[in-house]
């Protein structure tokens, strides 16, 4: 293994990425795959909006609309937002806590490939009997009765990528618990690390419910089980519970890391320590905790009865309190600061009012009685795009732009980024603000067409126009990325004048991250060293050999095996052979892995001394 894979040929680079276990490279893989799926989901959104540009439109058929709608939601949540969050977590968390890698580099790679193959599987459905069409929530029994294999792809594809996510989650919990550098106590962890930690815990406890739900769905559809078949005593409400026991924590899995990003960006560009650090941590934990007790607010109209509805309504509203704490803490971080309007900061500032609106409509939805009107109307669509696009997506872009130099060593063009922001932001509000009214004016969601003379035409038109602005903005961003990488102008290790540990090492960091374990002397360690020391992090250990894990192709093979097996299970009959082959590949890879000791290798002290000019902690 060479420390410098520079200037390698295409084949070698490809192989490197297929086998890599380096968290930074896996971060890049997640980023690329996540962006790809984001664009795909965005294209699907454009189809939705074009179809709804005018009443009674026949741009796409009813069945196809349902497929597009389902895939838009599923793709955006599972294949775009989640992996982009994992991209940032991978790229940043080990660096922020002064670790050489994550706890399980091998599993990290496995997690990525499982997610990736799961995502590919879902999208293969377009070409085989049609995509899933029962909504991203796949409510039974519609999902049971759905013809073709669409919903099978949904169940098996999400199952595979869900395993990947679960592994990723456990990996980050262990990394953060066990691998913090000396001096990095829990209450000195940067907030992004904290939110990554809590989001991972949510993943650990929320995903199993989805796993079970998807298994039941698969068994019902493919093996004749009767969980959701009313005529055989099945009960469709079980699915709703399982889905939302997972689904509600899921939305906090998405938003918490975005909160984390803002908690890094705001202090950096206000040049001020995060206001109320410990209450921020506390609020994060509290949101996670409450997040487990509110899922039935998605089910107010199911008929659970007024007692259950009231309990869940009150619990739901309670979440506004810790979230409010966060909003005000950000505002007061800005208060008295010295604000630089860089592009990540602009995204953060765009986020605050937008998310506040989204959160407030959330609380309105939480009011159970009133939800009888809001539920399954465009009001809900507006709510969740305000929190997801206005919260998660803005957070992801803020994070991607902010850490871009750390990941790639280059700096995106600030001017283009500002243009991107304004196009996206204005487009966003055009698209979704009017949807609140559409919902209250009687437009249910998941509507292929809306009728003439119902007063819905104008706002739908506005909404579609807004979506084009968002698309234009996104295209600008992609252009920015291409141009920036083509130019490839390198930047320093700390281009933003930031505060946390990851900025103490070069951009991009050497593959072993830290030459010597850093010594952390407080919150915002780099800032402390800048203001109280010589601006360099002190090492916590003498220079020594560094133990590194080996690359491995096994994760790719294991995931590929499950991917192949999925088809066998789905099509059955003579396709069972695929299941046999697939599971054999997976099991064989696992055995290979456990029968071959993998002790990693060492980077020797002497070689490290030769490495020049990395300005790392020494």
């Amino acid at each position: 293994m060479s420390a410098t894979v520079k200037k390698a040929g295409f084949g070698a680079t490809l192989w490197e990425y297929l086998t890599t276990v380096d968290h930074k490279k896996i971060g890049i893989l997640y980023l690329v795959a996540g962006m790809f799926f984001f664009i795909l989901g965005g294209l699907e959104a454009m189809l939705i909006r074009i179809q709804l540009i005018k009443p009674d439109n026949d741009f796409i058929s009813a069945q196809f609309y349902n497929e597009v709608l389902t895939m838009h939601g599923t793709t955006m949540i599972f294949l775009a937002a989640m992996p982009l969050i994992f991209a940032l977590m991978n790229a940043v968390v080990p660096l922020q806590i002064g670790a050489r890698d994550v706890a399980f580099p091998f599993v990290n790679s496995l997690g990525f490939w499982l997610f990736f193959f799961g995502g590919v599987m879902l999208n293969v459905s377009w070409f085989v009997t049609g995509a899933p069409d029962a909504g991203w929530t796949a409510y039974a029994p519609l999902s049971i009765f759905s013809e073709g294999h669409g919903v099978d792809f949904y169940a098996i594809g999400l199952q595979i990528s869900g395993f990947g996510t679960l592994m990723g989650g456990i990996n980050f919990i262990v990394t953060i618990v066990n691998m913090r550098a000396p001096g990095m106590t829990y209450m000195r962890m940067p907030l992004f690390t904290w939110t990554a930690f809590i989001a991972s815990v949510l993943i650990l406890f929320a995903f199993p419910a989805l796993t079970v739900g998807l298994f039941l769905l698969t068994f019902d559809r493919l093996f004749g089980a009767n969980f959701f078949d009313p005529s055989m005593g099945g009960n469709v409400i079980i699915w709703e519970h399982l889905f939302w026991i997972f689904g509600h924590p899921e939305v906090y899995i998405l938003i918490l890391p975005a909160f984390g990003v803002f908690s890094e960006v705001v202090p950096t560009f206000a040049k001020k320590r995060l206001f109320g650090y410990s209450s921020m941590v506390f609020a994060t934990v509290l949101i996670a905790f409450l997040g487990f007790m509110v899922w039935a607010h998605h089910m107010f109209t199911v008929g659970l009865g007024p007692i259950a509805n009231s309990i869940f309504a009150v619990a739901t509203m309670a979440i506004a309190v810790p979230t409010g704490i966060k909003i005000f803490n950000w505002l007061f971080t800005l208060w008295g600061g010295s604000i630089r309007l860089t592009s990540p900061m602009v995204f953060a500032l765009g986020f605050i009012p937008t998310f506040t609106i989204g959160g407030m409509t959330g609380v309105m939805l939480g009011s159970a009685a009133a939800d009888f009107q809001y539920h399954d109307s465009y009001f809900v669509v507006a709510h969740f795009h305000y929190v997801i696009v206005g919260g998660v997506v803005l957070g992801l872009f803020a994070g991607i732009i902010y850490w871009w130099p750390k990941m790639f060593g280059t700096m995106l063009n600030e001017k283009l980024n500002h243009w991107f922001f304004w196009l996206f932001f204005i487009g966003f509000h055009l698209t979704f603000f009017v949807q609140h009214f559409l919902g209250l004016m009687g437009m249910p969601r998941r509507y292929w067409i809306f009728l003439e003379d119902q007063g819905l035409d104008f706002f739908n038109l506005i909404s579609t126009i807004g979506a084009f602005f968002m698309a234009a903005g996104t295209i600008l961003f992609l252009y920015n990325v291409v141009v920036t990488q083509a130019k490839g102008v390198k930047v320093s290790g700390d281009p933003w004048d930031a505060r946390t540990l990851e900025w103490a090492i070069p951009s991009p960091p050497p593959f072993y991250n830290f030459k010597q374990e850093p010594l952390v002397r407080g919150l915002d360690p780099l800032w402390i060293e800048k203001t109280e020391g010589d601006g360099k992090i002190k090492p916590a250990e003498p220079l020594g050999d560094i133990h590194m894990p080996n690359n491995s192709f096994v994760p790719f093979m294991m995931s590929l095996g499950l991917f192949i097996a999925g088809f066998g299970v789905m099509f059955q009959g003579s396709y069972w052979i695929l299941a046999v082959i697939g599971f054999a590949i997976t099991a064989g890879s696992m055995l290979y892995r456990s029968f071959k000791d993998d002790l990693g290798y060492h980077v020797h002290k002497e070689d490290l001394e030769d490495e020049k000019g990395d300005g790392s902690n020494g």
């Binding site: 919990i173 618990v177 815990v201 650990l204 406890f205 929320a206 419910a209 009960n235 409400i237 079980i238 519970h241 399982l242 026991i245 487990f292 007790m293 039935a296 659970l304 009865g305 259950a308």
Partner: protein
């Protein structure tokens, strides 16, 4: 490794003794678990009123599980703070799930 030269034998001896002690606890735990199982099965076979039996066997099960966790799985030893936290969080989520599925769905 600094303690290579130390009186390793003595240390090993000490460990062994400690392990043996632990093992005694384990056997005792095991006996209790068997006893609990017998009681649970006994109650059901004897046909005692369900109003009484069901809560009792559930409690017996819970206690057995705590035995497993604390003794067999060593949650009583130091270094298990995080595992305990996570297991209890898991149990919390688990209880909510079971509670919901057994009350607010209809037959």
């Amino acid at each position: 490794m600094a303690d290579n030269t130390n009186s390793t034998n003595e240390k090993q001896q000490f460990y062994r003794k400690k392990h043996k002690e632990e093992m005694k606890h384990h056997v005792l735990t095991f006996a209790m678990m068997i006893a609990f199982t017998l009681i649970a099965f006994g109650l059901v076979i004897a046909g005692v009123s369900p109003m009484f039996t069901i809560p009792v066997i559930l409690i017996l099960a819970a206690v057995q599980v705590l035995f497993q966790l604390y003794y067999f799985m060593h949650m009583n030893q130091e270094g298990h703070e995080m595992p305990a936290l996570m297991i209890y969080s898991g149990i919390f989520a688990a209880i909510l799930t079971v509670l919901a599925l057994s009350t607010i769905v209809w037959w």
